[in-house]
């Protein structure tokens, strides 16, 4: 059990900036945003200049699935909604959608990032926290960017 925890610790700890704060990077040469951070800009390669960039956490659902069969780590959460979210700055990522009935999730829905428990590294293993997304609400003051072409 201790071994399991130790394994998870380094794996999670080294990505904390990304999974806690949505830190990716931006190529100063071509202006493209990347999440997760890339080692090299695929468009500019050696001419690229990647700088850390923290995403605002607002986006739009590009596609989604409702998972009814999942590995052990996620069994307790089934059925859950997983989606690809287009972040407003341009990158797309995969994350769970929470705080909404699965019947109400739609392509084009506006969402914002939230901080949640993701899973555990086995029984007694460390608990992994990170990003999930939830629908934006008018009361939060987040701009209602039109779900245009999606």
């Amino acid at each position: 059990m201790i071994e399991m925890a130790e394994r998870g610790v380094a794996q999670v700890w080294r990505r904390i900036k990304s999974i806690y704060k949505l830190q990716g990077n931006k190529c100063e040469t071509c202006g493209t945003h990347y999440f997760p951070p890339r080692l090299v800009c695929p468009q500019c390669r050696r001419k690229g200049k990647l700088e850390p960039f923290t995403f605002k956490g607002l986006g739009t659902i590009y596609t989604f699935a409702v998972v009814h069969q999942a590995p052990e780590d996620f069994k307790r959460q089934m059925p859950y909604v997983i989606a690809q979210v287009d972040l407003d700055e341009g990158a797309r990522l995969t994350a769970q959608i929470v705080n909404v009935d699965k019947e109400d999730v739609k392509i084009g829905m506006r969402v914002r990032v939230c901080f949640r428990r993701i899973k555990e590294f086995g029984p007694g293993g460390i608990i992994v926290y990170g990003y999930k997304f939830e629908p934006t609400m008018r009361v939060t003051g987040h701009e209602e960017k039109a779900a245009t072409t999606n």
Binding site: A65, V66, H68, A70, P71, P79, I82, L93, T94, K119
Partner: protein, 386 residues
């Protein structure tokens, strides 16, 4: 360098959940069938390639090349293990093709194998998930079926593909497998049964997905000029092409097309000096039914968005213009991941030789196989001819 590469023997075992056999039992069986089929002896073989995705996680064993040579009693010939997730089998075929074309090897055995039923369903699902981007898709709950469900949802949204369309490849492939004695499932499945099966990852259902399978397939390949010594019916590998794409599905511009498939198909046909209309029979990677719909479009049988319609019209049935997955495909023949790419070639060789029995496509002369790794991060295309 100008040597063409011929397939002179094929072998495959009955796919299924083979509780009484381990990985090497099934690989040995398929390899020996191929060797007998080719009429060669062990001394003729100067190398082996073995395609496998994840024996280390599925069975605990790695170093399969040496193991296979050892079990087959082939002494000290070199053996190469290759891995490209679900395209490991296709990658093995391509490695042998390149090795012979380069002049380094003359006659090789190619094996594809996977033993998946020794671990729990949950562990099998985790192992398959590492074919996609484990750190950024899998660990956030993006199961492998969910990633294909992403494609299906978007395909339905953009092109009006229906739930019935999603079921059509399954019905067709099960009907084909009913005539394949090596298939895991040899019984037809009616449309309504597919459409009412349990949800896996909405909009995909359990019966839209290929199963957990143990199985192996083998080939004997050699220089074309040597082939005459062993057989009057060699099948030539007329082209081989492989392309890559981003590992994570979310990093692609479009998730309703696999650009790796579009490019590798185009390049392979060009290499073979053929057009799609010249192809008589195809094996397309249908790990999920939406995969077959997308590939039907990406190889050019149907326009983008009209893959479902092509299935509706029966274009891809045996007897149609472009028969797809006469073997039963991954859905019904079974999908032992590392074996699949080789099993596809076995089926096409049988078709080109006229040995496919009740599922025979009359007069088939040219064939094409598409083997996918992950969600399209690897695409390997082979064109065969007689």
């Amino acid at each position: 360098m100008n040597n063409r590469v011929a397939i002179i023997g094929v072998g495959i075992n009955k796919f299924g959940e083979l509780w009484d056999k381990n990985l090497m039992d099934i690989a040995y069986e398929a390899g020996m069938y191929a060797i007998w089929d080719a009429g060669i002896s062990g001394a003729d073989i100067d190398g082996m390639v073995i395609g496998n995705m994840s024996a280390g996680r599925f069975t605990g064993q790695e170093h399969l090349g040496a193991l296979a040579v050892d079990m087959a009693g082939l002494g000290d010939i070199p053996a190469y293990s290759v891995e490209a997730a679900c395209a490991s089998g296709g990658a093995a075929v391509r490695q042998a093709y390149m090795a012979i074309k380069s002049g380094e090897h003359d006659l090789m055995v190619v094996l594809g194998c996977e033993k998946m039923s020794d671990v729990s369903q949950s562990e099998a699902m985790n192992t398959i998930s590492v074919a996609s981007d484990w750190e950024w898709e899998g660990t956030f709950g993006g199961t492998f079926p969910a990633l294909y469900a992403f494609m299906a949802r978007r395909h339905m949204h953009d092109y009006g593909t229906t739930e019935e369309h999603l079921a059509l490849p399954v019905v067709k492939n099960h009907a084909n497998a009913a005539h394949n004695p090596f298939a895991q499932f040899q019984s037809p499945v009616p449309l309504d049964v597919v459409m009412s099966s349990a949800m896996l990852a909405e909009p995909l259902r359990v019966l839209h997905s290929s199963p957990v399978t143990d199985g192996a397939a083998g080939l004997v390949v050699c220089r074309e000029d040597l082939a005459k010594k062993y057989t009057d019916t060699p099948v030539i590998i007329e082209a081989s092409d492989q392309r890559s794409d981003t590992l994570a599905l979310h990093d692609r511009k479009s998730i309703t097309t696999m650009s790796s498939v579009v490019t590798s198909t185009r390049c392979a046909l060009k290499q073979a000096n053929l057009e799609l209309k010249d192809i008589d029979v195809l094996e397309l990677h249908d790990s999920f039914s939406i995969g077959e719909i997308i590939l039907t479009e990406d190889v050019g049988i149907a326009k983008k968005g009209e893959g479902g319609k092509a299935l509706e019209e029966g274009i891809t049935e045996i007897g149609g213009k472009f028969p797809v997955n006469t073997s039963g495909g991954l859905k019904a023949r079974g999908h032992p991941v590392g074996a699949t790419g080789v099993a596809q070639i076995v089926e096409l060789v049988l078709q080109l030789r006229g040995d496919a029995d009740k599922r025979q496509v009359d007069g088939a002369e040219k064939a094409l196989a598409v083997n996918i790794g992950g969600t399209g991060a690897t695409s390997i295309v082979h064109v065969l001819g007689r």
